[in-house]
């Protein structure tokens, strides 16, 4: 099984699905699900293989694909999420227009992400990167209207990122006359630190935009909330993680750990500044998420914040931090995709995702509630979910590495996360069921299946974190990090070990004990939702609910502190550029005379320079 075949199947399948859609919609749906499942199998078979294959020659450059454990980890996440979201789409997208286009784009983006993680040289990487960016733009704008503006915002940011990437890529080519990543990595350690820093900063702009690192995040909230839900799951779950892959690639594959740790001193090092940026990325978006009233917008802002944890772990550059960051990437892919799907399922049934008008859906969609609860617990980092283990690793390295302020931000961000995660659960599922949603039914099976699979992953990796951590540890070791004492139950260490099995058994046993006490007491009478205690006052017949402005006191405290300076900056910049262009446009007078004058003037300048300075 080689990489060329995998990509050929992925890309060819996408086109085939489009053609199949013209014949019959049933064929298209089946084909898209089958294709994604085939890709999952093909990627899974690549496990443990490493190597590099040249696949074509372009203008004399050797283009190649490579695979190793790092690529495999990202590829398996891409393919699994791709197939789950294809299954979720089956009923979510049913009856919508332009479905051939939708499936084609989903599969194309999926294929291009596989291309990115398997690219062995900078040109292939760039080509797949652009396919992904443009495909994403088209899918974000799928719903037209405000979605179009969101997509435009995304693609403009993306193009700026691509420009930075091209600059970095050609600069590397000028120095090493090769585009091959492995070849550059072998020779880059002799470069001056100023040069390395400029390359890293250029790549950080590209990948920071895709990863929505503050202050490059402004495209994300609109894009995530406007895109169709199955695609939001992919977008937040894995697509923005291509930026994470880019960070790992440029920091640890291209430049390498040893060289990287010599870049700068103390707080003025590349590591530390990236870590501070990610800490800001954790802190501010968490509180903005708290104040949103649209469920998908809450999740979108939360994606930015969680990406902060991932980059924080990777940037800090210790073996614990790297393992935590990489593990958190996997975890975020699972629980955030799960939450987007759960919100999508609720929207599918009720037609809204407004946190102020929903409520009590738990009585109609208990399974959706259960999976959303698991997703939210993972998001918080509740013990026995996967989010807990990865965050624990990050905190531990920050505490022991004498970075308590970064640790403070990370921990405090978690408490903000609890507030908005509970707000989503409470406002959608808890409280009283409004009259309008009395007849809502549970989500269809094709939606339940991917959500259940994802929640199993969240719990499984939370109780047995050793499964992914072993793979991540081997990646870390290949980058030169110290090997961690990974066990199936967590991590052994002399400065504080982690044992998830112990915690799990303790919780299970005490749960059973308390449950037995609970059962021994007289059983309780089940009552309806309107049978409530109101301290003697009259209970209104219509809605007896508290959801709007759920955390009012804290809003009043933090709202004055949260001025979106970044958004203001971009708006001012956009206006300045427009004014500049308007001003420049004035030279186009439309009269032939003035154009001739410009040409003459230009020639005069050239001649003066030639005569005066003789530089040609």
């Amino acid at each position: 099984m080689n990489l060329e075949m995998l990509l050929a199947v992925a890309f060819g399948g996408a086109f085939l699905t489009y053609i199949a859609g013209k014949l019959s919609s049933w064929l298209r749906d089946t084909l898209s699900v089958l294709l994604t499942l085939v890709i999952v199998t093909m990627v899974a078979l690549l496990y443990g293989k490493a190597g590099e294959y040249s696949y074509m020659s372009f203008l004399g450059f050797n283009l190649s694909l490579r695979t190793d454990t790092l690529s495999w980890l990202f590829a398996i996440a891409v393919s699994v999420l791709g197939s789950l979201s294809a299954i979720f789409s089956l009923s979510y997208m049913k009856g919508k227009e332009r479905l051939d286009f939708y499936y084609f784009m989903m599969l194309l983006i999926n294929a291009s992400m596989l291309g990115i993680v398997f690219a062995g040289d900078l040109i292939s990487f760039y080509v797949f990167w652009e396919i992904m960016s443009w495909g994403t733009f088209l899918l974000i704008s799928y719903n037209r209207g405000p979605a179009l503006a969101a997509g435009l915002k995304y693609i403009i940011m993306s193009i700026a990122g691509s420009a930075a990437y091209l600059l970095g890529m050609f600069s590397l080519y000028a120095s090493y006359s090769t585009f091959n990543i492995a070849d550059i990595a072998a020779r880059i350690s002799t470069a001056s630190s100023g040069y390395l820093l400029s390359i890293l900063i250029l790549f950080s702009i590209t990948f920071g935009i895709k990863n929505a690192l503050v202050p490059l995040h402004i495209w994300l909230p609109d894009a995530h909330s406007e895109a169709p839900s199955p695609f939001s799951a992919v977008l937040s779950g894995i697509l923005i993680k291509m930026g994470t892959y880019g960070f790992v690639l440029s920091m640890y594959v291209l430049v390498g750990l040893k060289t990287l740790s010599h870049l700068g001193h103390g707080i003025l090092s590349f590591h530390f500044i990236l870590a501070i940026l990610s800490a800001i990325t954790i802190l501010i978006p968490t509180f903005i998420a708290l104040m949103q009233d649209d469920a998908k917008r809450v999740l979108a802002w939360s994606s930015i914040a969680q990406v902060g944890y991932i980059i924080l772990g990777i940037a800090i550059g210790t073996s614990l931090g790297f393992a935590g960051g990489m593990f958190h990437f996997l975890n975020h892919a699972s629980f955030k995709a799960l939450l987007f799907m759960a919100v999508g399922a609720v929207e599918y049934r009720t037609g809204t995702r407004d946190l102020n008008s929903l409520g009590g859906i738990i009585k109609r969609m208990p399974l959706t509630f259960a999976v959303a609860l698991i997703g939210a617990l993972g998001l918080i980092g509740f013990p026995l979910t996967n989010g807990f283990v990865s965050k624990w690793l990050i905190y531990k390295t920050l505490v022991l590495g004498k970075d308590p302020f970064l640790a403070f931000v990370a921990l405090f961000g978690t408490w903000g996360t609890i507030l908005y995660a509970y707000k989503i659960l409470h406002n959608i599922f808890m409280g009283q069921l409004p009259e309008d949603y009395k007849d809502v039914r549970e989500a269809p099976f094709s939606m339940q299946l991917p959500m259940v699979i994802l929640s199993i992953i969240v719990i499984l990796f939370g109780i047995l974190p050793g499964i992914p951590l072993k793979i991540i540890n081997s990646i870390g070791v290949s980058f030169g990090f110290k090997s961690l004492a990974v066990n199936i139950w967590g991590i052994a260490s002399d400065t504080g070990a982690l044992n998830t099995i112990n915690i799990f058994s303790a919780v299970l046993v005490s749960w059973v004990i308390v449950w037995l006490i609970f059962k021994a007491a007289p059983s309780s009478l089940r009552v309806e939702q309107d049978n409530n205690y109101a301290a003697g006052s009259y209970i209104p017949k219509e809605r007896y609910q508290y959801t709007a402005n759920f955390y009012a006191p804290i809003y009043r405290i933090i709202k004055p502190c949260l001025v979106d300076v970044v958004e203001i900056f971009y708006m001012v910049a956009a206006r300045a550029i427009r004014e500049l262009c308007d001003w420049t446009r004035r030279i186009y007078t439309g009269e032939l005379g003035s154009y001739v004058m410009y040409i003459m003037f230009f020639l005069v300048v050239l001649i003066t320079i030639k005569l005066g300075f003789n530089i040609w």
């Binding site: 009590g360 738990i362 009585k363 509630f369 609860l373 918080i380 509740f382 013990p383 624990w392 531990k396 505490v399 022991l400 004498k402 308590p404 302020f405 403070f408 921990l411 405090f412 408490w415 609890i418 507030l419 509970y422 659960l425 409470h426 599922f429 409280g431 967590g490 400065t495 504080g496 070990a497 982690l498 044992n499 112990n502 915690i503 303790a506 005490s510 749960w511 004990i513 308390v514 609970f518 007491a521 007289p522 309780s524 009478l525 089940r526 009552v527 939702q529 205690y533 109101a534 301290a535 007896y544 609910q545 508290y546 959801t547 759920f550 955390y551 009012a552 006191p553 804290i554 405290i557």
Partner: protein, 294 residues
């Protein structure tokens, strides 16, 4: 690690917690110039509550309150006292920070299904309050962990043996003081009883509870008292390998806290958060900076 620890330590914690609950009602009564109920009153209440019939709003309504108590019992297993700490190798202080989530989150989920706006307001206040006290609390934990360069609670206690108590060391004095200031907020007692204010929002999260639900919530509170103060004793007063000494230390801290807090009226939510983000946070932050500086 002996198996008996898993059984003995929660039972001892429960006894200490219930005793402190009874004692607090007595002391409060004396401050108010009343006689007060007998020391055993909490136990009498629990037995009475367990025998009563009650209502339920659904499976999560039941599961939440069970989760809340179960999580708190697990938390006891992380607190080193009297030479016992059954789960010493399971993640240390960082896990303690997280397992403290079980109780409020369990109550919040249970209350959410209760479908009563008083509950929702109470939960909202409780979460905001916790956001308030977590700022100083995290800073305190970080200064202790950074100072002793470990995340293990047992190691922190070990480092303070032979009367090298953290509260008497220069860097950790201010964090210790900050911890005393936030204890009432962590326990949700006066002046920070805004989440369960009976006069305003019918006891908030407890509004729909009766019978065994209230009993479980009371037991949870007893454990919480032990954990919150026990953690302080472990981190700042050197813990103790003798259960009785440990109990004495807990008792002294509890009574001092009670005497100060019995005379304060209730804060409003914003006042509480602003207070917590101001004095205790500044003290804890100063401590952390001193820890980093030396």
């Amino acid at each position: 690690m002996k198996f008996a620890e898993f059984i003995v330590s929660p039972i001892l914690a429960f006894i200490i917690g219930v005793f402190l609950m009874g004692l607090s009602r007595r002391i409060m009564a004396r401050i108010h110039r009343r006689y007060g109920p007998p020391l055993m009153q909490p136990v009498i209440d629990m037995i009475k509550l367990f025998s009563q019939k009650t209502i339920s709003h659904g499976p999560i309504f039941d599961a939440g309150v069970i989760l809340s108590l179960a999580g708190t019992i697990v938390l006891v297993l992380f607190i080193p006292f009297g030479g016992m700490c059954p789960l010493r190798t399971s993640g240390g202080l960082l896990v303690i920070l997280y397992i403290m989530l079980f109780a409020p989150l369990g109550l919040a989920l249970s209350g959410g299904e209760g479908a009563n706006p008083n509950i929702s307001i109470g939960i909202s206040r409780k979460f905001i309050l916790s956001l308030g006290y977590e700022v100083p609390f995290i800073l305190i934990m970080l200064s202790v962990m950074t100072y002793y360069h470990t995340i293990s609670a047992v190691d922190v206690v070990k480092a303070q043996s032979a009367f090298h108590w953290a509260i008497f060391s220069v860097p950790l004095f201010l964090p210790g003081l900050a911890y005393i200031l936030i204890i009432p907020a962590m326990l949700g007692i006066r002046p920070f009883d805004l989440a369960s204010a009976p006069q305003e929002i019918s006891s908030g999260p407890m509004a729909e509870y009766g019978g065994k639900y209230l009993a479980l919530a009371e037991i949870e509170h007893a454990f919480a008292i032990f954990i919150t103060i026990g953690l302080f004793v472990d981190m700042f007063l050197g813990g103790s390998s003798n259960v009785f000494y440990f109990f004495l230390k807990v008792l002294v801290v509890f009574v001092i806290g009670l005497l100060i807090n019995a005379v304060f009226p209730r804060f409003r939510t914003e006042q509480a958060v602003k207070f917590l983000w101001k004095w205790p946070s500044v003290m804890a932050l100063a401590g952390l900076i001193i820890v980093l500086a030396i």
